[in-house]
Amino acid sequence: MKPGLTRRGLIGRSVATAGGLAAVPLVTPAEAAIPAAPAPVRTPEMVDIVLQVNGRRLPLTIEPRVSLLDALREQAGLTGTKKGCDRGSCGACTVHVDGRRVNSCLTLAIRCQGRAVTTIEGLAEGDELHPVQAAFIRHDAFQCGYCTPGQIMAATALLDEGHAGSDAEIREYMAGNICRCGAYNHIVDAIRDVASQAAGKG
């Protein structure tokens, strides 16, 4: 696919090819967020917290047991982050907290107050995809796409951590992200591509 591919272009294309079937955007910018679910009935355990998600203030009323993953999906309407296993084994729920990748299913939302949370919805600059998102499309680094937001969040962190030195190193440091479709080879291709582009520029 052409470099500089945009989300809008991609959606337009998939709508056309799918013959009018509802297209699922790969990334949903925060401003186009799916309307949040109505706030649940307030129980005595509930507390008011404020999160910073993708650079925006996100006030929430939650029970302390709510995971960051559920807060993002169920309350903030940010459904790009996926729930696979819900217990730390698959990486589908990977987000960044203060710049470090974590499994949002094993993170209580209440512990994230005052910390910067970045989700897949926060990677693109307007209509311009993040280089890792664009590389995943170029290299066909997914089949069903369910693991993809987590893979991309892990991959962007891996590049920042400087662990893209070799294919073996990429595989080792992507080990927390399982792909049930087995798109691993293309995922490694996409990450290597972004790493070498960055190295070429630098």
Binding site: R87, R101, R111, A175, G176
Partner: protein, 264 residues
């Protein structure tokens, strides 16, 4: 997950007071405890978040390295002081789970939990480290008391772990479960003022243990050949879908030889 109330105390004294309630539980990295709560295997009234106690950090002095209980696996793996003084510990921390887990999971949490497949128990036992709590100091040999069982009282908090220096040799080798990356068998070998110590995790139904036959063999001759002939009886070893007791017995010698070679 059952409901609980959440508290984030800012002093150890307050944390211990909160933990004195019968159903209160401490929360460190949550990488073990949150899954436990999700499976409703535990029903705490209050979760006491240890993140506000200032227990994260690594302090290297001349004759010891002190690691705060809330220090993450990632921070331990990244520490240049630990890499220099105890390379085996650095290696071990960098191999736990995956990067996401290492960013949250803590050394104190792992030791308090004492999972029979966890890595730190092997390092702490082989290096004869001291577990420092809000109440006392506990030597490694007394601390581990069988799987998921330790010398800690229910309202006792690990505050730090001390490793005496110098450590002449240290290395850890594990055969990872390919999915979870926990140790099917992990062996930590060390040579320090405490002598030669070999600790095995992942293998036994009773959790981490010292392999005294290997310790004796290595005391005379630090080389993989010195232990190549040593066989561990499979009785009492774990047997599950990942491997039989006999297979784990075999892995102990293989991992121990590799660890000795890595620390030569």
């Amino acid at each position: 997950m059952y409901d609980f109330t959440y508290q984030k105390p800012s002093s150890i004294a307050d944390a211990v007071k909160l933990l004195a309630e019968p159903e209160a539980k401490a929360l460190a990295g949550g990488q073990t405890f949150i899954p436990v709560l999700k499976q409703r295997l535990n029903k705490p009234s209050t979760l006491v978040d240890l993140a506000g106690l200032g227990l994260a950090g690594i302090k290297a002095e001349g004759d010891k390295i002190t690691i705060g209980a809330m220090t993450t696996h990632g921070a331990i793996a990244a520490s240049p002081e630990i890499k220099k003084a105890i390379p085996g510990l650095s290696m071990m921390a960098g191999w736990i789970g995956d990067t996401q887990v290492r960013h949250c999971g803590t050394m104190g949490g792992s030791l308090a939990n004492n999972d029979p497949s966890a890595c730190y128990p092997a390092a702490v036992l082989a290096l004869n480290a001291t577990i420092v709590t809000d109440k006392r100091r506990i030597g490694a040999d007394e601390y581990f008391q069988g799987m998921f069982t330790t010398a800690l009282a229910t309202d006792e908090l690990i505050t730090s772990i001390e490793f005496a220096l110098p450590v002449e040799k240290s290395a850890y080798e594990k055969f990872r479960n390919p999915a979870s990356r926990y140790a099917m068998v992990g062996v930590f070998v060390a040579k320090s003022a405490a002598g030669v110590r070999v600790a095995v995790t992942g293998a036994s139904q009773n959790g981490v243990f010292r392999h005294t036959e290997m310790e004796q063999a290595l005391s005379g001759n630090w080389s993989p050949d010195a232990i190549a002939h040593i066989k561990t009886p499979p009785g009492g070893l774990n047997s599950d879908i990942h491997g039989s007791a006999e297979y784990r017995a075999h892995l102990i010698t293989v991992m121990a030889k590799r660890a000795v070679a890595a620390a030569s």
